[in-house]
Structure formats: structure tokens, C-alpha cells
């Protein structure tokens, strides 16, 4: 780990565990992590890479941080990449549909994380054309509150002839998939830690649960799923830092979704009823994980990745996977 990454990660670990409000997160510069140092307003961005973002967002996931940090980080990065000055306040990402004519947008953006609090949303809008158009939109005409399974805001934003800024044609939902992969990796690791502590402390049949072979084998499987998620996400970050990453982000999110499927069930199983209360912290992780599993492309990436694989011969699958790692 680079020295800078270690410092940023340690700063995140200290701050995110301290139930910070949004102002403290913004003040510490985390939303501008993926913005170059010479852009991004006062003081500039942090100039971190995707590996740094992965490390910080893992910490956010492990702490069930109830803020749209990753969404803001991605919006700031995409704006910087498009040479747009960072607008003041909170900008998040989202996707929706509608009409974009004469610099006016009429339509909706669905399930926007903290949409009610956002000053801007950077949204991939399906206008019926082949590629979505990416629009920077101000506050909407109406906000319809919604929420994720974990109770986080997921709001519908409706716009009527709202003026916006078009940034070209792109779909950023893959970056969102990377964000959820990173958070899930942290949350799964934190769930494993809770589970280990629990089975070491909880006495049944006259001994700690951890001494039961069936419990050991369950936690070994949970640890495997944590490991697979962590390496998939880190490898996707590495590919992004090399200027690739589309296939890797898809694959990492798919693998993460499999890990959530198995991992959440196992973390709860070894906790018994104790893990099922409002007081015990496990649900803060597992309810988020279940929601993240469907956000930014659930298993639809599987069909896309499969269709892309089927464009070439069976042998090409291997040559393509290896080409991506040989630099």
C-alpha cells in the first residue's frame, strides 16, 4: 500500500467510526478524493486513484456510513473529467429517463441516494436514443421520498422543463457498481468480524460456539466470500487505474452479489436471534448489503458480460482475460 493510501485509509477509519455529519466529511475532502489536485475549487482535489477510492469506500461500507460519500465522489470525478467546475453543495449520481430538448429536461431520475439533500444530480438519462445522455441537473421540480431496505433516502426526482447541462453520452452506472462493490467488501468484512467476536464470546453446550466444527466451517465460507469480494474489487480498481475497467467492474459486481447472497445468510446464521435485533449492529451491515445487491445493475451485468463473451470464440475468452492482466 502506498504511503498516501495508508494515510487516507487511516484518516477514513478514524473519521467514519465517529458518526460524522456530511459537513465533516466534506471538510476532510473525501468527496474530492478522485479529483486532481489542481481542480475542484478551494484547495483542489485530493488527487487519489481508484485504488485509494476502493480503500476509503471499503471503510465507509464497514462503518455503514449513512452518507452519499461514494455517489458524491463519483459525481465530482466525472465532472472533473468533463472539465466542469464543481458546483457548490452536494452533487450525487443517478439515472432516469425523459426528454432533453433545447437545454431543458422534462423527466425523472429514480431512487437517487439522498436526492432530497442534493443540490445537483449527475444523471444518465435514457431519451430513447442508443446511449443515454449525461445531464447535470439542479434541484428538481418535485421530490418523492423513497428509502432503501436500510432506511437510507432513495428519492424520485421529477423535472419539468428544467435547464441543465449536457456532458455527452455515457453511462456511469458501471462506476456505481464499483462503488457498491467497495462498500460491500467493507461491510462483509465487518460482518465477519462481528461474527467471529460473537462465536468466541457466546457459550452454548458448555463451550464457545467457535469450538463447534459446524460453526467453524460456516465462518470459513463467509471468510472466503469476503476474500473473493475484496480481491475482485481491488483488481477492478487496478484495471481502472490502468485506463480499462468496464469488464472488471461488471465481473466484480457480479462476484460481489454472489458473496452477499451467501455471506449475509451465514453472518446471520451464526448469530442466531441475537443478530436479529434492532440493538445489535449486524443489521446495519446486512440490510445495506441486501439493498446494494440490486443497485447499479444487479445481475443484468451477467447477461451483458455473457453476451459480450458470446461475440467471440471459446478460446478468445481466455486470451481476453489474460490480455487484460499482461501489461
Amino acid at each position: 500500500m502506498s504511503q498516501m493510501r495508508q494515510q487516507i485509509t487511516e484518516a477514513a477509519e478514524a473519521l467514519f467510526a465517529d458518526t460524522p455529519d456530511w459537513a465533516r466529511l466534506a471538510e476532510a475532502g473525501f468527496p474530492l478524493l478522485l479529483v486532481p489536485e489542481d481542480v475542484g475549487g478551494t484547495g483542489g482535489g485530493i488527487g487519489g486513484d481508484w485504488g485509494d477510492a476502493f480503500a476509503v469506500l471499503r471503510v465507509a461500507g464497514a462503518n455503514a456510513l449513512p452518507h452519499p460519500l461514494g455517489e458524491a465522489m463519483l459525481a465530482a470525478h466525472l465532472l472533473a473529467r468533463a472539465d466542469i467546475t464543481q458546483p457548490p453543495g452536494l452533487t450525487v449520481i443517478g439515472s432516469g429517463g425523459g426528454q432533453w430538448q433545447g437545454d431543458r429536461f422534462t423527466g425523472w431520475v429514480a431512487a437517487v441516494p439522498w436526492g432530497r439533500d442534493a443540490d445537483h444530480v449527475l444523471a444518465a438519462i435514457d431519451t430513447g436514443a442508443d446511449d443515454p445522455v449525461m445531464l447535470l441537473l439542479p434541484r428538481p421540480t418535485t421530490v418523492t421520498p423513497g428509502q432503501s431496505p436500510a432506511g437510507e433516502p432513495r428519492d424520485r426526482l421529477d423535472y419539468v422543463a428544467t435547464s441543465g447541462l449536457a456532458l455527452g453520452n455515457a453511462d456511469h452506472s458501471l462506476y456505481g457498481a464499483f462503488l457498491r462493490t467497495a462498500q460491500s467488501s467493507g461491510a462483509l468484512d465487518a460482518a465477519l468480524t462481528l461474527a467471529i467476536d460473537h462465536v468466541n464470546a457466546r457459550i452454548q453446550f458448555g463451550k464457545p460456539l467457535s469450538k463447534l466444527q459446524a460453526v467453524q466451517q460456516s465462518l470459513a465460507v463467509l471468510a472466503q466470500e469476503c476474500a473473493a469480494t475484496a480481491i475482485a474489487g481491488a483488481a477492478a480498481a487496478q484495471a481502472l487505474d490502468r485506463g480499462q475497467g468496464a469488464m472488471e467492474m461488471m465481473a466484480a459486481k457480479l462476484r460481489t452479489n454472489m458473496a452477499i447472497h451467501k455471506g449475509v445468510a451465514l453472518a446471520h446464521q451464526v448469530h442466531g436471534a441475537i443478530g436479529f435485533t434492532q440493538d445489535y449492529p449486524l443489521h446495519r451491515l446486512t440490510r445495506r448489503l441486501m439493498g446494494w445487491r440490486s443497485e447499479f445493475g444487479g445481475d443484468r451485468w451477467a447477461e451483458l458480460l455473457g453476451a459480450a463473451t458470446m461475440l467471440e470464440t471459446g478460446q478468445t475468452l481466455w486470451t481476453d482475460i489474460t490480455r487484460r492482466s499482461d501489461q
Partner: protein
């Protein structure tokens, strides 16, 4: 946060692409079998001529010093060669154990004479080895080994039986774990010996597996004399030597590529059939995501090993996840395809073959339960 697998993703060394191009050119000149049944699980398929060609081309004993017939290449170059051979379905079964396990063990524990005697032949692809661990009463509970090596003038006398010995009928030597201290118990008093299988008193009998293949053998030692120099490493230290050897060889690419020939055949068959099948695409997409992830894990583990680290927990994770993947792969394909398993095409033959043999993948090289026990110990639970 818990860190069961805190490995950085692996960065390929400079020149990786050239190494890959080299082994691919070799494979183009020495093509793997066209029958996908023989390309599946290909590290159990022996072709001594192919192994000899591989040795002549410098692809065996790649990382060993040149004075023993090796080629002093970096470990990650060897990894690239291995994964290319397996992905192509090359018949690497004859030399696999000798190159992967026996040679490195001799380099680590063997005497200078043992190295000079055996390593050049292994690197040439002409000397094959098998592993003598399991016995009728010692499977996962390896410490129950009862086969004996009794000290006699000038050497040892062997008695007992090994079982489930893969490839003994192709092998020239067996690296065996024997009880060398009479009356010793469990992990104590065990030693490793390199046994010439042509020695008088050695009998090798086939154990035919459930699909009719001859891979397993039972090997009997009836008062077999072996010379002093057959002892490998330190007398009485067989147990730690064996466990180190097993832990370090669990994370290779053979742990997730054993069913790869089926995936390749499926893609080619479905493309030839033409019709778009979204359900099949989704299954393939998930399998590709898993394949890519497992390769990252396996390479990262290999890199940690190459850097001098001890990745025994990571290796157990790679093997268990990899086995699970290569066992689910045929099942997932069976579920999504509407095919009769009537041996009427290469696809259904390789599918049927893997449906039958894949349960063994989580038995060989350490059962699933043993691996999960190792991981649980790594988590501090035992």
C-alpha cells in the same frame, strides 16, 4: 476489519506477454487433444511424449537452478506457462506432480546427490513421480500412516500399502511418507522417502474409477530394500515436510481450470447454433465473473508465495472456492441447456464426463472439510 485475504491484486512482471506468446506458440506446434473430454481435467491426462517435448522446450523445472537442469526463470513466468497449458487442455498429467511437487521438495530438503540424480530428468520431462500419502486407513487423517521403513544395513526396508496413488503406473519414483520409528504415534516418527518404483517387491495395481478410467492405483511394498540416500530431508521430520509441501501447492491454476474445456466447448457450440439465448448468456456471464475473480486470487497467492510469504490460508481459500466453481460449472450448464446426455456431441460428452468426475475435485489435494478447518484456524477459531 478482518483480513482473511489481505493480498494486493497482482501486477504481471515485464515480459509476461512474451512468455505467454512463447508457450502459445509451443501449444500451436504441439496441440492438445481435439476431444474436449481429454482436454477437461487435463492434469489427470498423461502423455509422456508431450511431457518430453515440454521439457525439451524448457518449460519444466522452469524456476530451478540451471545446474540441476532447470532454467532459473521467475516463478510468475512459470505460473503463466501453467495456466496456458491448463486453459488449452494440454495433457500434462505425466509430469505434473514431479514438476509441481517432487522437484521443489528435493530442492528444499534433498541432498546435493538427490538433486543431481533426479532433477535433470524431471526437468527433461522423462522422469515422472507420484505421491505416496493415503493408505487404506489414512485418508484425510494422514497421521494414521502405518506403512513402515525399518533401518537395515546400508538403507531401509519398506513394508505396507499406499492407496489412491494417482499416476503411479506412469511414475518412475514415489515420494512416500512412511513410519520410520517403530512404535511411534501420529505425527511423530514419520519420514519421507523417494522410492524407485522398479525396486523388487513393489507391486502397482490399478484402481479403476467410477467412469472406468485408470488414474488411481494401490501400491504394495513387500520387503522392499531402498538405499540410505532415499531418505528425503530429516529422519522423523516427515510430517512438517509434507504439510508444508501440501499447503504451498493448493492455489495453482489447476484449482479453477479443470472444467474450462467445457466452458470453451459450450461457447463454440452455442455460437455455431446461432440463436440468441439470454438465459444462457446470464449463466456464462456469472461463470466468467467467477473465473476472472479466481484467477486474480490464484495469481495474488502465487505472487505472495514467490515473494517468500506463507499463504497457506489463502491457498486453502483459493482451492475451496476454485473447486466449488469447477464443480458448479457443469451443473449450471446442465441446468440452462435442454440437452439429452446421450454422448451424441462433444459438448454433451464433456458435460457428462465432468458431471461424473467433478465430485472428486473437492476430495483430491485436501478435502473441502480439511481446507475449511485450515481457514477457520486462520480466523482464530481453533
Amino acid at each position: 476489519m478482518a483480513t482473511a485475504f489481505a493480498l494486493p491484486p497482482f501486477v504481471q512482471p515485464e515480459g509476461a506477454a512474451q512468455v505467454r506468446a512463447g508457450i502459445r506458440a509451443f501449444l500451436a506446434a504441439n496441440p492438445p487433444p481435439t476431444d474436449p473430454v481429454l482436454r477437461a481435467n487435463c492434469w489427470s491426462v498423461a502423455d509422456p511424449a508431450f511431457s518430453r517435448a515440454l521439457g525439451s522446450a524448457g518449460y519444466l523445472g522452469m524456476v530451478w537452478p540451471t545446474q540441476y537442469g532447470g532454467h532459473a526463470r521467475p516463478p510468475m513466468e512459470r505460473y503463466i506457462v501453467l495456466e496456458e497449458l491448463l486453459a488449452a487442455g494440454a495433457s500434462v498429467g505425466a509430469h505434473w506432480i514431479a514438476d509441481r511437487q517432487t522437484g521443489p521438495l528435493l530442492l528444499r530438503y534433498g541432498t546435493e546427490a538427490q538433486r543431481r540424480r533426479y532433477l535433470p530428468g524431471i526437468a527433461a520431462g522423462t522422469l515422472f513421480a507420484c505421491i505416496g500419502l493415503s493408505e487404506p486407513g489414512a485418508g484425510s487423517d494422514l497421521a494414521s500412516v502405518r506403512s513402515r521403513a525399518d533401518r537395515v544395513a546400508g538403507g531401509w526396508r519398506l513394508g505396507g500399502q499406499k492407496l489412491w496413488t494417482s499416476g503411479a503406473h506412469h511414475a518412475h519414483v514415489m515420494l512416500a511418507l512412511m513410519r520410520s520409528e517403530p512404535g511411534s504415534e501420529r505425527q511423530q516418527g514419520l519420514s519421507q522417502f523417494l522410492i524407485d518404483l522398479s525396486a523388487p517387491g513393489v507391486t502397482i495395481r490399478p484402481v479403476i474409477d467410477l467412469v472406468g478410467n485408470h488414474d488411481f492405483n494401490e501400491v504394495f511394498f513387500d520387503d522392499v530394500f531402498i538405499p540410505d540416500y532415499a531418505l528425503v530431508g530429516t529422519e522423523g521430520q516427515g510430517w512438517p515436510q509434507v504439510t508444508a509441501e501440501l499447503a504451498l501447492e493448493r492455489s495453482g491454476p489447476e484449482r479453477y481450470l479443470s472444467s474450462h474445456a467445457l466452458l470453451v466447448t459450450l461457447i463454440d457450440t452455442a455460437r455455431a447454433a446461432g440463436a440468441e439465448n439470454p438465459a444462457l448468456n446470464a449463466v456464462i456471464g456469472r461463470l466468467v465473473a467467477e473465473l476472472w475473480t479466481l484467477r486474480q486470487m490464484s495469481m495474488a497467492t502465487a505472487a505472495k508465495l514467490a515473494g517468500g510469504g506463507d499463504p497457506s490460508v489463502e491457498a486453502a481459500i483459493v482451492k475451496d472456492l476454485g473447486n466449488d466453481f469447477e464443480q458448479r460449472l457443469p451443473l449450471a450448464i446442465q441446468s440452462v441447456l435442454d440437452l439429452d446426455l446421450d454422448a451424441s456431441s462433444p459438448l454433451v460428452r464433456v458435460l457428462a464426463h465432468l458431471l461424473q468426475v467433478s465430485p472428486s475435485f473437492s476430495l483430491r489435494g485436501g478435502t473441502r472439510e480439511i481446507l475449511r478447518g485450515i481457514i477457520a484456524r486462520g480466523l482464530g477459531l481453533r
